[in-house]
């Protein structure tokens, strides 16, 4: 679907495990890696990357759902609409004109939406991009027959386990870590910058309190709109928060 292909690439980035994976499961349709395409038939596990942003994709995902035993959607695009869902906040017509001289050549839906907005999904693996180890865990869980061990917690938990010094407290930076789903391993704080929400909101994301704190230490409302409206800005909790600060 609509994406940068980075999440599929994550599978190819499993350099140490790729060949074992190829032996353990029968990969039947993976256009990025193989020209033996077998999109027909029924699948035990289907991984889908990307958001739904064209009428054709909408049709395709319904078909995929129908032929898949388990549908696991991977990445921020597939789970929240992705960065391209920023267009959901703008006038679509105008967007088309900005990019394409003749918009009528291009087929596109007004909004970029997550897969779960259209068909039931069995598991959502978050991230922009997804984490390699988590991807392998989801596949392993599917092979072994158990629930994927993907912790449902804040980025802060990974940050602290890693021993990183909090950038909010010690550097005064804005960081979405406390309201963002873990999985990246707290990369940004480890690189001395605030989290920008690639994995989308966690459950119980108290975005309101975080925004209040940031406003209280001199950030502007426009800063808050930008902070919550980025890679996963169309995820409901972030969308709601960014709208609260719109002029």
């Amino acid at each position: 679907m609509a994406s940068c292909d980075g999440c599929q690439l994550t599978l190819l980035d499993c350099e140490d495990e790729l060949l074992a994976l190829g032996e353990a499961v029968d990969i039947v349709h993976f256009p990025e890696a193989s020209s033996a395409l077998r999109p027909q038939g029924r699948f035990d596990l289907t991984l889908v990357e990307g958001s739904i942003s064209t009428p054709e994709q909408l049709e395709e995902i319904r078909h995929i759902r129908a032929v898949s035993h388990a549908l696991v959607v991977i990445g921020a695009c597939a789970t929240s609409g992705g960065v391209q869902a920023l267009r959901n906040f703008a006038d679509h017509e105008q967007f088309m004109r900005v990019v394409y001289a003749t918009p009528s050549y291009v087929s596109s839906l007004a909004d970029s939406t997550p897969i779960s907005a259209h068909v039931p999904v069995d598991f959502e693996l978050r991230g922009c991009p997804i984490d390699k180890a988590q991807l392998l865990e989801v596949i392993t869980a599917s092979v072994v027959g158990r629930k994927p061990g993907i912790p449902n917690e804040a980025v802060c938990m990974e940050c602290k386990r890693r021993g990183v010094v909090c950038v909010m407290v010690a550097r005064g930076q804005t960081c979405l870590g406390p309201v963002t789903h873990a999985g990246c391993g707290a990369l940004c704080p480890a690189y001395d910058r605030g989290c920008y929400g690639c994995f989308g909101p966690r459950e119980s994301a108290n975005t309101g309190s975080l925004a209040t704190w940031e406003l209280g230490r001199g950030r502007s409302k426009a800063d808050m709109v930008r902070a919550f409206r980025l890679i996963t800005g169309a995820a409901p909790a972030f969308e709601h928060e960014s709208k609260r600060h719109e002029p």
Binding site: L136, T140, G149, E153, G163, V165, C166, C175
Partner: protein
């Protein structure tokens, strides 16, 4: 007892001390400046210590600042604590290897190098001592923690300056370093007063160029400690705090703080005493090798209290209250001390600056309800075996009970005979382990009845005779059968809640002289879901036992009772001197207890079995906490009056 002799160490001699320790084969972990904070990391000498640095702290704020002098320990505590060294954020517990039907479990041994902790503050040493209570003081010993603890040499430092967020004086943990150190330094102008508490410490002093401390130096030390005590940035009234908190579980402040709290878990992670962890099996595809790992967890996460898809602490208010009541109240029942040492880390490193001292004083000052009495800590008999490593056991037999329930008969792996009501942790590689109550046992076998509904139980229920699984246990409390001697005894079971009562029933039925009047009321979903039907009939036929069964759903062919188990009880006499054992879904137990209330049966005569999220089963991981209890070691069987104040209370 005379105080240990104090020595005086010139400032320049500190390097010598560190060199000596290194020379003795220790690696040094100490404070060092890293980017934006003073952290604890491996150091080589004095140069890497934060000489001339201090920290400014406020709620949600920490900044490094240069000092006017070149003090070495002139700062308060930072984001790291010694917990990271003794109880690492991630660590393998068990290596599991599958070879056909054979499974081998081996402990991932911590083989810690000798490590010297440089600059341990009073509050931090108190925190280490508190974690000792969790991990080594019973009933089980966490061998990994214990090995690291053994391998450490503690060079403590007295605080002569208080931080803005410090309140160790209120918690009684500082600023003077308490027992448990090898050496303790007090930094004064030009050098250190050095006190040794252990032989290792004293031996180090011997090898240094140190002289006996002069009175003036000791006076200066005491003055520094005094001034520190007096300038503590925070204060906390701890008087009767545990009872106060549990008496105010519905205080409006919980909702108020929940609006600010991010439930991010930072407070628990920086806390030097918080010990909760999660356990996961890490494997690749269907590989033969699986690593069972633990990693720090927090009661602020949803998974912490989730069991069978039910979330026991859905709201942030529930989670904050869980944390604060645990830290300042439950700890006292569990470990005979407050869980807070007053270091102030949770205040500084809360991203939105929530201050526990403020929250606690708000609860105390805003219309509090009366305090209640909390249970006293238990004394545990230590058990030497490693509770986290399963033993492989062969499945001897698999008896189908109902379409989704089987009884696994497995070979006994332990010398300890399970008691009715206790449970074992059953595990499969790559899938993990789950608590399953013992439904029966014999000389050389144990029986577990389980419903294959979750992924782990499903995998377990698909085992075949001859295959192996991992077993650790037995764990937990038991049905107090002996208390029922000479009293009518009523067992009330719902669904698979019958399984832990089955082994009790077997004993009761076998001893009619002691237990002449036993009644069993059992509610099942449908006729097809009734467990142990032949045994039920057999028990019913005994003069000493009376069995009644009811189902929720029936077809016309069913000629027995239909209706919830409470309908059975309503028709029966509920003797006041009787004893009652109840096990089933919590909603069922609640309804049964209401009926017993109506009948006037004393709470002390009723025993219930509680189920909560359980990972380690040995009292380490904190996940099965139930108010002041751990379900794994204080439970699963509780006397009703002991848990009355939290039973059915949302958020517990």
């Amino acid at each position: 007892m005379t105080p240990p002799p104090a020595h005086w160490l010139e400032r320049d001699e500190l390097g010598h001390l560190l060199a000596l320790i290194r020379g003795d084969g220790y690696r040094l972990i100490g404070p060092t400046v890293d980017g934006a904070a003073i952290i604890y990391d491996e150091i080589e000498g004095v140069d890497e210590l934060p000489v001339g640095w201090t920290d400014e702290q406020a709620p949600g704020r920490y900044r490094l600042r240069r000092r006017d002098d070149d003090a070495i320990f002139g700062f308060a505590v930072g984001p790291h604590s010694w917990k990271q060294r003794l109880f690492p954020a991630r660590e393998p517990l068990v290596q599991i290897r599958r070879d056909g039907d054979d499974i081998r479990f081996s402990a991932a041994r911590a083989d810690p190098p000798p490590t010297a902790f440089i600059g341990v503050r009073a509050c931090e040493l108190a925190a280490i001592e508190l974690q000792d209570r969790v991990f080594v003081r019973g009933p089980f010993v966490d061998h990994r923690y214990a090995a690291r603890r053994e391998a450490c040499l503690i060079i403590a430092v007295n605080c002569v300056e208080a931080g803005e967020l410090c309140f160790c004086a209120s918690m009684g943990t500082g600023p003077r370093v308490g027992p448990g150190y090898d050496l303790c330094l007090t930094e004064l102008d030009g050098g250190f007063v050095v006190e040794a508490e252990t032989e290792a410490g004293a031996a180090l002093v011997q090898r240094l160029d140190a002289r006996a401390a002069a009175d003036a130096e000791l006076t200066a030390r005491d003055a520094g400690l005094d001034s520190c005590r007096q300038t503590m940035g925070r204060e906390l009234d701890t008087e009767g705090l545990p009872g106060l908190l549990f008496g105010n579980l519905d205080h409006p402040r919980w909702t108020e703080v929940a609006e600010r709290c991010l439930a991010c878990g930072n407070c628990t992670q920086v806390c030097p005493t918080c010990f909760c962890f999660d356990v996961k099996d890490v494997s690749l595809l269907a590989n033969a090798e699986t690593a069972r790992e633990r990693s720090w967890d927090s009661c602020f996460g949803q998974d912490h209290s989730t069991i069978h898809g039910a979330v026991f602490r859905p709201a942030i208010a529930d989670r904050y209250r869980q944390w604060l009541t645990h830290k300042f109240a439950s700890w006292t029942s569990q470990f005979d001390a407050s869980g807070c040492v007053g270091c102030g880390r949770c205040i500084a490193w809360c991203p939105v600056g929530i201050d526990v001292t403020e929250e606690l004083s708000a609860i105390r000052s805003q219309d509090p309800k009366p305090a209640i009495e909390l249970p006293r800590p238990q004394v545990w008999w230590p058990r030497e075996d490693d509770p986290l490593v399963p033993a492989p056991a062969r499945v001897l037999e698999v008896q189908p009970e109902t379409p989704d329930t089987v009884t696994l008969v497995i070979e006994r792996t332990t010398a300890v005979r399970e008691e009715p009501g206790q449970f074992n942790m059953l595990s499969l590689p790559a899938i993990g382990d789950v608590p399953i109550s013992v439904s029966g046992s014999g000389e050389d076998f144990v029986e577990h009845t389980l419903r294959g509904v979750g992924r782990a139980t499903k995998a377990l229920s698909e085992l075949r005779p001859g295959q192996r699984l991992g077993v650790r246990g037995p764990f937990g409390s038991r049905w107090p059968i002996e208390l029922a001697k000479d009293h009518p005894l009523t067992l009330i079971a719902g669904g698979v809640g019958l399984t832990p009562l089955r082994s009790a029933m077997q004993q009761l039925a076998a001893n009619p002289d002691d237990y002449p009047a036993v009644r069993l009321f059992y509610g099942a979903r449908s006729a097809a879901d009734i467990l142990y039907d032949t045994e039920l009939l057999a028990w019913d036929s005994l003069p000493s036992c009376d069995v009644s069964v009811t189902v929720d759903q029936a077809s016309r062919r069913w000629l027995g009772n239909i209706g919830f188990v409470t309908r059975l009880l309503r028709r029966k006499e509920l003797p006041l001197d009787g004893r009652y054992f109840i096990c089933g879904p919590e909603v069922m137990m609640r309804q049964v207890l209401f009926l017993l209330d109506e009948a006037g049966v004393p709470k002390s005569h009723r025993f219930v079995s509680i189920e909560r999220n359980m990972k380690c089963a040995a009292g380490f991981c904190g996940r099965c906490q139930y108010g002041p209890y751990f379900v794994c070691k204080d439970g699963p069987i509780f006397r009703h009056d002991h848990i009355d104040f939290i039973f059915g209370q949302p958020g517990f």
